[in-house]
Symmetry: C3
Subunit: 273 residues, 3 copies
């Protein structure tokens, strides 16, 4: 499954329209190029409909939302829905501010998302319309652990059913679920949390994977999540003395660039639940 | 020629005002510092006139244009024209959306550009006022090849004459032309297309080179294009096992930082046509 | 002193709200993660009050200010003042444009800053309400040198007293002063000036350090300045053949990530004046 999903990305060069935050946008662009896709960025309301029309998917990330880009998100989202494109939501900081929580809520109400990807706090904010997020990190008490995994999986499936979307909750343990099936993924390194934007990058990757694998969005999203984790492991193995988080960021993207389907397949640690 | 153009940049530290997209802006700033120039960024309409007045050149890149920054482009452009400064246009995505095509068209009409640099699709969109661009990459059928090179050179010269600007069409084969003379440049690596922003970086570089070599904008622009290509080759030679596109980005900028005039002169592959 | 300040950051993970320019924002985020803090970015006026409320400190950088983000700076600043949070100002380009000089002036008038950090030209612009800045670099004639150090220290102390803020003037020789005491810091490398954003990164770092050391803002700020300089030295020692400014940027952040209190303490070169 992973190898095929990976190959479909290589073969089709999915073009992804990103309305994303200005903090990590360069890494999102480079990770899309690394994985075999192609990025284009645009958030101006007058520009987004034309741009999204020539793409296969749309990645909406509210990390540095503003009045104008919010308008852009809705216009691009509606257009992408109209065209039947893949649309992903990364609700960065939902639960941390009224504007973010409310914007994420309105987006989920008005736009049909193929995938929603965030940390557990953000996904809970989506589910409940409110939450307490410490910045963009999951509250520790909300972390997905081996102990609370069954409840977290049930929560993800239920939300997936409610929103007719694949739900990806990422953290130390990742969950990717539709209403029936969940993949639990145990790849990655804790040090990835010391780099800005690994979540944003994953949202870009996931969009590309779902675009290239339209018949199986759940498997495509799970593959993208596993790919990011495996790249985090390989990147870490390539660290040299003196390297820190800034170089680690490069090594992860480099690992995605150098990935092959067999390596991904053999290193991915997925459990179906 | 290349060595002298290179030396003039080292000796004068050209200060370049950039109104550029937020995707690749950090790399543009670092490449300007690497080449011996100095960058300043500002797109707020109320700020741009003062900023451009203290610079030697203005680099306008429409990659993530918005209503406000478009206003900034016109105000800065008019001021730079008034002061006789070098002004470069990078029409990212012209042809890909109505707003981009129209904005690029209006800019070319109202602002006097010293150089216009883009891929073949973007330059064709400038020439015709419409085109079909796949994102920001040139359509494959529009690529400049050894076969269609004479026609592409003729097109570039004609457009250069029409707009009284140096036209730089970059891709696998680069063309830098004024109305009379064209340089065809065959440096670079195909892997540069797997990094975001090599084109944006080149636009920054080119602005700096033309500022530092005011008597010969054609030669200065051709030198900048060759410099980017040579740096792409040296950067690639410096790649280590495990390196990918993210590290390659750093190695290219590093190669510009470490460039000397003799290396540039000896490795550049320019043909006058 | 330095070791304790460093340890307090490790122990408390200060969360810093940044309203900063889009040129260097990614590096600011990564340096905050590297030092043991946590970053969040938001400049939308409707969002900033909620975001700043959940943070410990606010870092305001006017490097790519626009009408909307200026409104965000004032709203966030007032909220942070109300909550007694640490607030730092980085007046990038004050003196270089009317809007920047005026905005910095109004900010200093209406917001209570814990720290103001800039180069000598920017700090002079703050002090006088006008100045001549060449882009964002200090005018050479205004550089702090061993010869004019006593006058520069006196100037910093006087301004610190006037604004009831720690004043950090950074350059080849750094001065960090309150109204009574100044630390002169002689760490760092001249090559740091060939990287975009080392100043912006330092402002992020300094905010985190002052948040984590609320009882001694002067010492915390001096430690952050020394940390940046020591990291610049270690990063330079780690440079390999072919490395240039782009890789140097990564190596500096990496050095902050790998810093320990003893190394910092032993390598810092502080003089109390």
């Amino acid at each position: 499954m992973l190898k095929e999903c990976w190959k479909n990305v290589q073969d089709t060069t999915p073009l992804v329209h990103n309305i994303t935050n200005y903090v990590t946008v360069n890494d999102v662009a480079n990770v899309l190029l690394a994985c075999g896709g192609s990025p284009i960025m645009s958030d101006e309301p007058e520009d987004v409909e034309d741009i999204t029309a020539i793409c296969g998917g749309l990645n909406i990330n509210i990390g540095t939302l503003n009045r104008q880009s919010i308008e852009g998100m809705f216009r691009a989202g509606r257009k992408a829905n109209e065209l039947g494109h893949v649309v992903l939501l990364d609700p960065v900081g939902a639960g941390a501010s009224g504007l973010r929580t409310e914007t994420a809520g309105r987006l989920v109400e008005e736009i049909r998302f193929s995938v929603i990807r965030g940390n557990i706090s953000e996904i809970k904010a989506i589910a409940t319309g409110s939450a307490s997020t410490r910045g963009v990190d999951a509250n520790v008490e909300d972390a997905v652990t081996e102990e609370n995994l069954p409840q977290a999986v049930a929560f993800a499936k239920k939300l997936a059913g409610k929103l007719s979307a694949v739900i990806a909750i990422t953290g130390a343990i990742d969950i990717v679920a539709d209403s029936q099936t969940a993949y639990v993924i145990r790849n990655g390194r804790p040090e990835m949390g010391r780099i800005t934007g690994t979540g944003c990058q994953l949202s870009g990757l996931t969009t590309a994977y779902v675009v290239a694998n339209p018949e199986r969005p759940l498997e495509a999203a799970a593959t993208a999540v596993a790919l990011m984790g495996v790249a985090g492991e390989i990147g870490w193995e390539n660290m040299l003395p003196g390297d820190g988080n800034s170089t680690y960021r490069n090594r992860i993207i480099d690992a995605i660039y150098n990935m092959d389907g067999d390596t991904l397949e053999s290193r991915a640690r997925l459990e179906k639940m």
